[in-house]
Amino acid sequence: MSSKVLTKPLGDVPVALPPLQRVTLTINGAEKQLEVAPWTSLLDLLREYLDLTGTKKGCDHGQCGACTVLVDGKRINSCLSLAVMQEGKEITTIEGLAKGDQLHPVQEAFIEHDAFQCGYCTPGQICSAVGLINEGHAKTTEDIQELMSGNICRCGAYVGITAAVEQALKVCQSNAQ
């Protein structure tokens, strides 16, 4: 691919659209081969091209956590990552957490503790909590609050969210034993 052809010295912006880029990734267990424009964020890929609208766009700038998904088990902000950069990765979104009708312990805990009001931040909160549990660094309630601070809840459901994550952490730890 020669980008020279595409780039005319008109300011610093290419004048013709660069070709689509091929990317292979696994989303919620299913391998996908896709062609995307290089500037497509992982978030836009999920929502606009794969109809996985559970993952939300809040700020689109890394400031709210609504777009949190898991990449190889680690939580990231999908709005600040390019889809093409995820070549070969395993992505898990809110749609991929339940096993059939069996909800993930974090999902169950959110329902039990009423850990939402409007629900817009919830998919991000839940994916973030799953990441927090995988990471294994939270020992206390304060740790949970600090390590969940990347997820803003405009409804202020933080008390329920903290309680839900605390419960889910215990459930997952005892399941692992």
Binding site: T7, P14, P18, I76, L80, L82, S128, M148, S149, G150
Partner: protein, 330 residues
């Protein structure tokens, strides 16, 4: 965001070559700063070179007892690495005081050094800004400048460097390994970033096409007496208004060596070895700490909304040093 082409580099040399082969190419690592700025049209590269697959993801012990952090190690993997936690707890604490868990999983140690200022006018392409558009003027000097610098400013720019990690690296006297079109070189942390002067468009002293390959920590990690004190508008997930990385080597109450670096006050981490030397052989007391604080703040200048930092910073320095002293007395 403008359109651009994209390639994934497999070797450091091809990554460097890709930058040269394009008009305004940039590296992308974690993407957390460059994509943010591209969405705002502040950065408009015609080509992105993905460097996340480069073999620079190791943390390894150096022959001199130091520790090498590969440029592509994530901030999270660095902060939680057992050797970093044990020998460089100041660095670990500092990284964990920045951004959010998600962002730290993405952000790389190399990329962290290059993050650009959070000056609101730099982000807003409708306003003049010498850093974004040289010669257009600085909107912050007479504008809203609560987050701006009080030290080392120029009439052209009063922006701060927003990194927490860089402040700890300055205190620890890390060195930065760089590869570029003209081969390899090493820069001391003190020589990596720069003051704005009359060229605020340059944040650091790297040449075009140079890539950071590693950050090397010297053997002494000041693991017994240290602190990172970060003062900000909310207690997590916010940038520093003022931050202090403090490290002491104590013998009883007597200071053998002291390091103090400040964040949130200048265009680069702010350190003054002459100020630190005032503590050598002295007792670890508030009075002595206050003297260092005053020496560090010499020449500080406020611009209105940020003038509060001139008193906040020395208090933060004294407090950080007191807390470092009280951690562990040998």
């Amino acid at each position: 965001m403008n359109s651009f082409t994209y390639t994934r580099a497999e070797t450091v040399d091809t990554a460097i070559g890709e930058i040269k082969a394009h008009h305004t190419a940039k590296f992308i690592a974690g993407g957390t700063n460059i994509l943010d700025l591209m969405k705002e049209n502040v950065e408009r590269p015609d080509h992105l070179v993905d460097i996340t697959r480069l073999p620079l993801k190791q943390i390894e012990t150096l022959p001199d007892g130091g520790l090498r952090l590969g440029a592509l190690v994530t901030n999270a993997d660095t902060a939680y690495h057992p050797e970093v936690q044990k020998r460089y707890p100041l660095l670990s604490k500092t990284i964990l005081a920045g951004a959010s868990a998600q962002l730290r999983n993405m952000a790389t140690d190399g990329g962290n050094l290059f993050q650009r200022t959070r000056c609101y006018y730099f982000y807003d392409t409708a306003t003049p800004c010498n850093k974004r558009e040289p010669g257009s003027g600085c909107s912050a000097i007479n504008g809203f400048n609560r987050i701006h610098a009080i030290l080392g400013t120029s009439e052209h720019c009063i922006a701060t460097h927003p990194s927490d990690m860089a402040v700890a690296l300055a205190a620890l006297e890390a060195t930065i390994r760089v590869s570029g079109p003209n081969g390899e070189r090493t820069l001391a942390m003190a020589d990596f970033h720069r003051l704005p002067g009359d060229k605020p468009q340059y944040d650091n002293n790297l040449e075009a096409g140079e890539i950071v390959t590693s950050i090397d920590l010297p053997a002494n990690g000041f693991a017994n007496n240290y602190n990172y004190l970060k003062l900000r508008d909310r207690s997590s997930y916010a940038f520093a208004l003022v931050s202090v990385a403090a490290a002491l080597e104590l013998e009883g109450d007597t200071i053998r060596e002291a390091r103090v670096a400040l964040g949130g006050v200048a265009h680069m981490p702010w350190r003054k070895p002459e100020a630190e030397a005032l503590l050598k052989g002295q007792k670890a007391t508030k009075e002595n700490f206050r003297k260092v604080a005053e020496a560090l703040l010499e020449g500080a200048k406020g611009f209105g909304a940020n003038t509060f930092k001139i008193e906040l910073a020395p208090r933060a320095i004294v407090r950080a040093l007191v807390m470092a002293t009280e951690m562990k007395k040998k």
